[in-house]
Amino acid sequence: MSEFDVWRRTTRWLSDNRWQIICANPPGGTAGHYQRCRIPRKDARGGDEVDITAYRNGVLALFECKSKLSHSLRENARSECDKDKLARILRTNPFEQLRLFLNFAHGIEIHPQGVAIGCLAVEECDQTVPSDIVIVLSTRVSGVDVLNRAELFE
């Protein structure tokens, strides 16, 4: 399954499970049916792109999609892996700041009480699952499984 397939499967699963998809960037292209996910960044031009941003019941979830977990944990040209990128975004943008920004950018109303989490969506867990980030397993067979902190998705 390609990165696009993981992204597509995850967005579909979120929609089917009453998550509101606020914005979503498919890998490598322009999506005709979603707003772009770009979070401003003070120390770099252009900001951070996140694959999917979704909200339900006080949980604001930021997803990065890859076909394998090892790809999500591999450093890119900026010496940062997806896991670290999400951690940095959440560290520099607390929930309240993200809530206000998403309201400004996309006109989405998010309840002031809530939590922002980072999630890695993958098809294959080929490495030890890190404990400090939610892993979402997107497979052909069972659809989508949340491997840790599943209570956030119930």
Partner: protein, 366 residues
Amino acid sequence: MLRVWYDAKAEVHPETSWTSLSKYCRSAPLKSLNSCTFTKVLALNSLDRHDVIIADDNEPILTIEQTNTVPSGHNLPQRFAKLIRSAEMGVPSIFYFQEFSRHSYSDKTLRFLNPRVLLAQFRMEILFDTTCLAAIWPTDPRTSSYRTDSMAHAELAKLVDAIIKAHQTGQALKDVALVQKCRNNMIRMINHYGAQYTRSNEWQEFFPSGYLWARDYTARPIDPPDSCRLVDTKPYLEKMWGKIEGRMRRNRKTEFLLSRPKSVVFAATTTKSGTGPEHPYPGHLAMLDILYARRGPTIGERFFNLICELPMHLEQYKTSTLDNTTGLRILNEICDLVVLDDAIVASGIVRTVSAGAVLAQLSDAS
């Protein structure tokens, strides 16, 4: 057999694009350009990769370039090189973008399209006798951003279907009602946004009524941006040679350049790593070439020399050229001359006039 070739699957997948609304494309196989073996389809990507190519086996019918970025500044012109290759090969193209919108993440100011893009498309129609259309991705009036609802791309899908049908029935595209409607809308946008442009002093001096092909339909001139200067060729070349080597050499290449009294000079910047031109510049220069310099369909047919000033060193330029980066590939094909920090390099048609590409070089540059 009709196939839809793509660069990124998201741009053609029925769940994320317009293809589900197209009678012809929703049932056509979606194929990655990486797996393509059809020579004419591949040839369309020799300058830059197309987003979408619709082809009947080895016969490309239509190319589509689509973007949801705000339509101002470089955002549209940077994609122009691929439209040129499509027109050169006689393949109709659709450029799909918004007429106006705002950035979702910075301020709420509306950005409007750059009418030079539409003028350059019309100019291409004349130069290459090919249909070059701009279709509008609708803006949501509530959010001032692009529409994402399921019917947002219905107009694009109808236009695509009309062009495929015309191809199959042998109807001329100029007689297709949706194509005419699209062209009328392009004229409306040129007139509307062209009126907001002020003149460039440099161009006004040389073209008091505006450059022939760069005027709206009420004859108001639309000059190039400030990054694009019109200079006298001889003093400019002497000055550049003076900076690098001293006196300008006279040879077949420089004589060729001097045969055009005026030159269009475009100042580009390099990427942070300094390995090539920053992404928007080569495509933008390709658009300016079509609109302000060309007098015929080939790169040898220009009123003015096309010169790009690129602040990088010769050694890095050579390395990046061998790496075949998209930006330098475009510059090396379309420009007449690339002026680097420490060298002057012939490119495009000038390179073929006689042997040797480096025309001038700082003595300490290896």
